[in-house]
Structures are given as structure tokens and as C-alpha cells.
């Protein structure tokens, strides 16, 4: 009787706790879809030869489908909104638990952030990771003042307040959510041209912070140790402004450490980016048309170091499915843009 009491009561309590936790966690099925990006990776059935790391400049600006269709490159974008460099680092550590890519492409825009920025973005980048040391390290490195690490272990402690905001989504997607990305890529088919290209506002200091460099060093070392080729990239988004001084620092760093650094802003015309048609928000992010052009461009560079997997039936079947979804989503969004002049479908 006593044994039953000791076992049953905590078990019931745990069921209620985790049940509540699941209910109150944000589902990211309307409004902010980006919260799903990190966790979607863990359902992948195949491995990837290229992993992209970074913020919106990777998950909006590069189409893995183009890489597959034209070069047979199996890739995944492990991006998240305003992903900070230490988050990228620990995300790679975490990824290496499952697979070993040949190439890692890191978007260097996040070098500008030497310190944690916003709790909300931390959540979008970290919550989706399974509970490992890497997750906790990432949370520790990212935590703002007053943030509790315990709430990364038990998200209920963070999201309990959502009892007020519970909506149909929370029940509808209780057991599983829809997907928001194709291989980590978030599609946008609408167009909003760039109208002005402003000068960057003057900064007091253009030197990237010590902390940023610390993690860039760690990233470089990790890739070297594992025999992974690391490519630093600045994708061709016009905002936030990419300063010449920043560019020079990255070029220097790549020189010193023997890495490839590609500044796509300078290469925009070579890549074929047309800022009238290839961005959906006047230059902040590329739309799918721009992302596909980036796919072509990067495919050319990556093809040397990455095998073509198109003949491998396992890869082919998974990727064909992705291509189908991609095509359907693209067609749907294009139709919606035509009919309603806005996109309604972001998930599948």
C-alpha cells in the first residue's frame, strides 16, 4: 500500500505536470512560425552533407531544394530568428550527435551581437532542442538577467502565463504540430522591392566583441577537429547594414584561419539578385526567388566538396517528397499572393 502511494502519487503528478506543460507551450502555428524551426530538424530521416547555421539570413535566403535538384546536395538549415553565435555553436554540437556533415556554412551577421539580446529570441532558438548539456550550455550563454535556466528544463515555468492566451491552436496541435519549413527553409513568395538603400548609421565602435570572437574561434576549432569545412557567409540582405569595417574583420579572420569567406552583398549582381523582385520586405530578407538564386550560386561552390546523392534511393525518396511539398507550397503561396495579395499558407 505504501509502495503504491510512493509510486502512484508522483506518477500522477508528473503526468499532470507534463500534460499542462505541453498544453501551455506555444505551438507557433499562427503568427510566429519560426519557433518550430529548431525542433523540426530532429524528425529528419536522412543525413545532410551541408549544415547552415545562422539567423534569418540563412533560413529565408537559401533554398536547399535548389541545392538538391541541381547539385544533389543534401542540406539542412539549422537557423533561428536572431540566432546568436553561441546558439549556432551549441546547435552544431547538438547536430553532431546525429550526423557529421562535410561542410558547415555559418552566417556571420550575428558577430555583431556580443551579448544576449532578447529573451524571446533565446526561446525561439533554444526551446526546440532536446534536453542535453548543449541545450543548457546554450541557455546559460544566452540567458538575460532574471532568466532562469530551470525554465529551459521545464518550459512550463516560463509559459505558465499563457493560461490567459490559450486558443484553439493549443488544443488542435496538442499532440503534433504541422511543419513550417522544408529542410529548415521558410518560404515566402511575396514581393516587396527595395526602394532606398540607406547608409549605415554611424557606430561608436566597429570592432566585433570578444565574446563573439570566442565562439567563432570555438566554431572554427570544432569544425577543424571534426574535419568539417567551415564557410563564413554574409548573405545578400541589405538590412541590417553590413559595414565595411565588419566585412574587413571577417575577411581578415578567414585569411588567418584559412577559411572561405563569401560576402554575397558584393556579389549580388553575379549571383543575379534583383532587389526589385527577389525580396519580400524591401531588402531585409530574400523571397523564394532570391533564395533559389542563392541556391544556384552556393551549389556551384559546394559541389566540389560534397557528394551528389541523387542516385542514392534513400536520399532520393526523402528529397522527392521535400520537392513535392516545396512545389505545392510555392504554388499555393503564389496563388494566394495573386488572389489576396498576401500569403495565408505557411504550414503543411
Amino acid at each position: 500500500m505504501k509502495i503504491i502511494k510512493i509510486l502512484v502519487i508522483p506518477a500522477i503528478a508528473a503526468v499532470i505536470f507534463f500534460g499542462m506543460q505541453r498544453l501551455l507551450e506555444p505551438k507557433y502555428m499562427s503568427g510566429i512560425y519560426e519557433g518550430r524551426l529548431i525542433s523540426e530538424y530532429y524528425g529528419e530521416a536522412i543525413s545532410h552533407d551541408v549544415i547552415f547555421l545562422g539567423d534569418c539570413e540563412v533560413y529565408e535566403n537559401i533554398s536547399p531544394i535548389t541545392l538538391w535538384k541541381n547539385y544533389g546536395i543534401s542540406s539542412y538549415i539549422r537557423g533561428g530568428p536572431q540566432q546568436l553565435i553561441w546558439q549556432s555553436y551549441y546547435l552544431l554540437e547538438d547536430t553532431l550527435r546525429y550526423e557529421k556533415p562535410s561542410v558547415v556554412v555559418f552566417s556571420v551577421l550575428s558577430m555583431q551581437y556580443n551579448k544576449p539580446q532578447k529573451e524571446g529570441y533565446n526561446r525561439l532558438n533554444i526551446d526546440g532542442m532536446p534536453l542535453t548539456d548543449y541545450k543548457m550550455e546554450s541557455a546559460k550563454a544566452s540567458a538575460m538577467k532574471d532568466e532562469s535556466l530551470l525554465s529551459y528544463v521545464f518550459p512550463l515555468l516560463r509559459y505558465h502565463d499563457r493560461w490567459k492566451e490559450l486558443c484553439a491552436d493549443d488544443f488542435q496541435y496538442y499532440f503534433s504540430e504541422k511543419k513550417v519549413s522544408v529542410s529548415g527553409f521558410m518560404m515566402r513568395c511575396d514581393v516587396k522591392p527595395v526602394d532606398v538603400i540607406p547608409d549605415g548609421k554611424k557606430l561608436p565602435d566597429y570592432q566585433f566583441g570578444k565574446n563573439s570572437y570566442k565562439y567563432l574561434d570555438m566554431l572554427t576549432k570544432l569544425c577543424k577537429d571534426k574535419g568539417i569545412r567551415l564557410i563564413l557567409i554574409k548573405t545578400p540582405s541589405i538590412y541590417p547594414y553590413w559595414y565595411k569595417q565588419w566585412n574587413d574583420q571577417m575577411a581578415d579572420y578567414a585569411d588567418k584561419t584559412d577559411l572561405t569567406y563569401i560576402n554575397c552583398l558584393d556579389l549580388a549582381s553575379e549571383i543575379g539578385i534583383d532587389y526589385y523582385t527577389d525580396t519580400y520586405d524591401a531588402g531585409l530578407h530574400l523571397n523564394v526567388y532570391g533564395a533559389e538564386k542563392m541556391g544556384y550560386y552556393l551549389g556551384n561552390i559546394l559541389a566540389d566538396s560534397v557528394p551528389d546523392r541523387r542516385d542514392n534511393p534513400k536520399y532520393a525518396s526523402v528529397w522527392n517528397e521535400k520537392v513535392q511539398v516545396y512545389n505545392w507550397l510555392k504554388a499555393t503561396q503564389e496563388r494566394e499572393v495573386k488572389e489576396f495579395s498576401k500569403i495565408k499558407t505557411f504550414t503543411y
Binding site: 505536470f17 529573451e119 532574471d146 512550463l156 515555468l157 516560463r158 505558465h160
Partner: protein, 525 residues
């Protein structure tokens, strides 16, 4: 380290486990260590203050006991001494005892006065100095050591009790634990040594019943504090903003909200204190009965912050009233004004002194003093009116009906709520302005169009608070907060009740990122 912080939960868990396992043979010593660690979290320098108070009070206590033992031995040695001789000797010793008492009181009150009141005194004197064109005094800002008003008063009650005959504690460390016992260090209750010594120093075996009762009490405290107080305080702060323009009907709303907030916050904190102490096997005295069911202001003060009330009664009100000047005043006023009102003048004088000091104890600001005096005045007025009430009751005979009692409760609640808002507006001038706005500028239209919707809380918040308050009302209806320890219900039901409170607090509590879990309102005193 606040009770609602994750740090405290961790600290308590470690203390609790250590207390019943590794350190079970040295429990009180371990508690002392834990208390000092707890206090050190509020700043290392604060440890100096409390240690000075502990050492000085303990030493004075020992000296008094030494004198008493000396007296007994001396008198026992010469049984042939005449009664007069004995009395003379006793008087000499008594004078010496008094010297130690006064020394100890003055020393510790001086510390309190310097850290708590110096800047208030300076800022009150400076306007006077400017009138006579004298040099202004630069104000000194000393960080107020946490809970100093509480532990100082606890130490003082000890030394006065020793003077009155209590045996002093021989162990400095045991006495140190009495003053610094961490559950009650920050916000009371102000315990008596006599009440606490048995339970504090004895060995305690882990007892599942006690543990569950304590846990339930702690959760009830969290419930009130995190679900009600920390939520509703948002609205109180908005309403109390001098630039918010919330006058008229909103003052009434604020008085109501603040009554709920302060009750939930303060009694919740005390629940956590009593619950944690109980989990450690220590029985601390209750500090609240059911204040919002009281029928008069005097009744209210017998049920609210009881240990403070009895402290002031026993160590201030009675001694003043029984002092020679006051007895002389009694004789004089009786002669001058006759046997009715004249007899009461001295009592009223003591009452006003009592409330002046009570106000000052709460904080070194004028609005606290005015708040205290208003309490005293209202009590005196109700005393003066009592013959009138008596006549009224004789004629109408409704005094015992439930309806009349409900009226009394209602009246006392609102009277207290309106006196209490001195605290919330934080300035005498603003409070008076707000009182006047209730009379002259009621502002119905704004309230009817907006209601309480623009105070930072939404409808869900209000609904939640309403439900929680109903739970609080029901809990208080039959019993005081002790009821919420669930000692009289079936074990399985108790488990369910405790678990429900845990989940309610986890989900509906205000904590975590985006919220600064607010300090207990009473911490600052």
C-alpha cells in the same frame, strides 16, 4: 533572498535535508548557520548589525541574571536581615538591573534610529534650517539592513522580559538563533523568547504529518502571494501613480484593491514563515487571526499583525499608562474635568503615544506617522461614541443580529481601507487630495466607460483574482489561515489539496521572466 525566489526554494531544500540527515544531532547549531547564510545573502555588512544586536543583548541579559543570582545568594546568606534591610538591598540591585536594561535598550534603539531614521530627521530639519538661513545638513544614506525593525524588536522584547524576571539564555549561539531564525527574520512574526525557546532548541524527528501541514501552509502562502498580491499590485501601482489622474471613484477602488493586496501579501508571507518553520519542527506563533471579519478598529488590531500589536501593548502601552507621570495626569485631569471624560484623558494620551510610535516603526516618513495617529484618533472617537451606540442598541435591539454584525464588518473593512491608503499614496498631501477628490470629483463617467480596464490587468486577471479571493474568503470564513494546513482532512484528500495548490501556483502565479517577483511589501520595514 525573497521567499518567492528560486534561490530561497533551493536554500530551504538544502537546509531541510541537512537538518533531518547529516546535521540531525546538531539541529539548532545548523539552523543558526543556515540563518546567518540566509542573512548574508542580503549583504555581508548586514551581518555586522545583527551580530552586534545579538551580542549586546545577550551580554546585558547575562549580566542581569548574574545580578539576580548574586542577590539570592546574598539574601540567603543572611537570613537574619530585616525586611526593611532586604528591601533596601533589593532596591539597589533593581537599580543596577535597570541600568543594564536602559543601556541595552538605548544602544540597540540607537542603531535602529541611525540606520532607519537619520535621513528622515535630516530631511525634516533642513526646511527649518533654511528658515533661519542656517547651513543645510547633507543627508546620509545608509542601506537599511533587512528586517532590522523586526529582529531589533525581538531582541528588545527578550531583554525587557529578562528584566521582568525571565531567565536569560546562557548560550550566545542559542540566543543568536532566536534573533536570527531565518523564516521570521525578514518580516516577523515578532516572537517572545519564552514562546520559542522550547521548540527552537529541541531535537526534532522528521514527522510526515508536520511536514505535510507545513507544506500546505507554505503553498497557501504562495497562493495568496503569487496569485493574488503580485498580480493585483500592478493595478494598485497604476492607481497610486500621482500623475495617473485616478481620483474619485478610483480612490475607493484603490483602497479596496490595496486591502486585498496587502492582506494577501503579508499574511501570505507569514504563512510561508510558519509553514517553513513547521517543516523544521518549530512552532512559531500566529500573527493573524481574521482581520477582515473584525467588528471594530480595536478588534481589527487584535487580529492583524498580532505579535506587533502585543509587543507595543506589553512593552509600550502598559508601561506608559502605569508610569508615574501618566498616573499623575490621571489624578489631575480627573480633578479638572470630572469623572467621565477626565478619567479617560490619560488613557487617550497613552493611546496617541502608542500609535505615534507604531507609525514611526513602520517607516521613517510622515505619512506613516499620520497613518498611525489617524488609527489612534479613530479608536478614541469610537470609544467616545460607545455610550451613544449603547443607547442606540437599547432602543432598537439589533445589536445581536447577523445583519448588524455584517454592517460592522463592512464598516470596519472600509474604514481601515481608507486609513491604509496613506501607505499606498506614500504622501500625506497626496492622500488628502485623494480623499477630497472622492467628495468633490467622483469621476463616474470615466469609471463607467473604462472600468478598471486600463490599470495593466485584463479581464482574465480580474477573473482569476476574484476566484482566488473567494477561496480566501471561504478559508477565512470558518477559521484563520491555520485552517489551510489541512490537518483534519483525510490523507488522500490532503494530498490532492496540496497538489492542487502546487499546480495552481505553478500555473497562475506571477513569477519567472518578465515579472520581477515583487518583494514582500513588509520587507522594507
Amino acid at each position: 533572498m525573497y521567499f518567492t525566489s528560486a534561490n530561497f526554494l533551493l536554500f530551504f531544500l538544502c537546509t531541510f535535508v541537512g537538518y533531518y540527515t547529516v546535521f540531525r544531532r546538531v539541529q539548532w547549531q545548523f539552523l543558526l548557520m543556515a540563518s546567518l547564510v540566509f542573512y548574508a545573502f542580503s549583504g555581508w555588512s548586514n551581518l555586522i548589525y545583527i551580530c552586534v544586536t545579538i551580542c549586546s543583548t545577550w551580554f546585558a541579559g547575562r549580566q542581569m541574571t548574574r545580578l539576580r543570582i548574586g542577590q539570592e545568594q546574598y539574601l540567603a546568606g543572611i537570613p537574619e536581615l530585616s525586611k526593611k534591610g532586604r528591601n533596601t538591598y533589593k532596591a539597589v540591585i533593581k537599580a543596577k538591573l535597570k541600568k543594564w536594561l536602559v543601556l541595552c535598550l538605548l544602544f540597540n534603539l540607537a542603531i535602529l534610529a541611525v540606520v532607519k531614521y537619520i535621513s528622515f530627521v535630516i530631511s525634516s530639519i533642513n526646511p527649518l534650517l533654511s528658515v533661519i538661513n542656517a547651513q543645510q545638513i547633507t543627508s546620509i544614506n545608509i542601506l537599511l539592513p533587512l528586517g532590522i525593525s523586526f529582529y531589533t524588536f525581538q531582541a528588545l522584547s527578550y531583554i525587557i522580559d529578562v528584566y521582568r524576571g525571565l531567565e536569560s539564555e546562557s548560550s550566545l549561539f542559542k540566543f543568536g538563533l532566536f534573533v536570527s531564525f531565518f523564516p521570521q527574520l525578514i518580516q516577523g512574526p515578532i516572537s517572545r523568547f519564552d514562546d520559542l525557546k522550547e521548540t527552537l532548541y529541541s531535537q526534532h524527528k522528521f514527522d510526515s504529518e508536520e511536514f505535510q501541514a507545513g507544506l500546505a501552509r507554505v503553498m497557501w502562502g504562495f497562493f495568496k502571494k503569487l496569485i493574488v498580491a503580485d498580480r493585483l499590485i500592478t493595478a494598485v501601482m497604476a492607481l497610486s501613480d500621482p500623475n495617473g489622474g485616478y481620483g474619485g471613484v478610483y480612490v475607493i477602488l484603490n483602497a479596496f484593491f490595496y486591502a486585498i493586496t496587502l492582506y494577501a501579501d503579508f499574511t501570505g508571507g507569514i504563512d510561508i514563515t510558519l509553514g517553513t518553520a513547521r517543516m523544521l519542527g518549530v512552532a512559531v506563533k500566529e500573527n493573524f487571526s481574521r482581520p477582515f471579519y473584525s467588528v471594530s478598529i480595536a478588534d481589527y488590531w487584535r487580529q492583524w499583525h498580532i505579535t506587533m500589536g502585543t509587543w507595543f501593548k506589553d512593552y509600550l502601552f502598559y508601561p506608559i499608562s502605569a508610569s508615574r507621570p501618566m498616573l499623575r495626569l490621571f489624578k489631575w485631569s480627573q480633578k479638572s474635568f470630572g469623572g467621565g471624560f477626565g478619567k479617560r484623558i490619560s488613557v487617550y494620551t497613552s493611546t496617541m503615544i502608542l500609535w505615534f510610535v507604531t507609525g514611526l516603526w513602520h517607516g521613517a516618513e510622515w505619512h506613516f506617522i499620520v497613518w498611525g495617529l489617524v488609527n489612534g484618533i479613530v479608536i478614541i472617537i469610537s470609544k467616545e461614541l460607545s455610550p451613544l451606540y449603547a443607547r442606540f442598541h437599547k432602543r432598537f435591539r439589533i445589536g445581536d443580529t447577523n445583519g448588524y454584525k455584517a454592517f460592522q464588518i463592512f464598516r470596519t473593512f472600509w474604514l481601515m481601507s481608507f486609513i491604509r491608503i496613506f501607505d499606498v499614496y506614500g504622501s500625506v498631501r497626496l492622500t488628502i487630495k485623494m480623499y477630497l477628490s472622492v467628495i468633490f470629483n467622483f469621476d463616474w463617467t470615466r469609471f463607467i466607460t473604462n472600468g478598471p480596464s486600463d490599470l495593466g490587468l485584463d479581464i482574465a486577471d480580474y477573473a482569476l483574482i476574484a476566484i482566488a479571493v473567494i477561496v480566501m474568503v471561504i478559508a477565512g470564513f470558518t477559521h484563520n489561515n491555520r485552517h489551510m494546513e489541512f490537518t483534519n482532512v483525510k490523507p488522500i484528500l490532503r494530498t490532492v489539496l496540496i497538489a492542487s495548490m502546487v499546480f495552481a501556483v505553478i500555473i497562475f502565479g506571477i513569477y519567472g521572466f518578465g515579472y520581477d517577483s515583487r518583494q514582500f511589501i513588509y520587507n522594507q520595514f
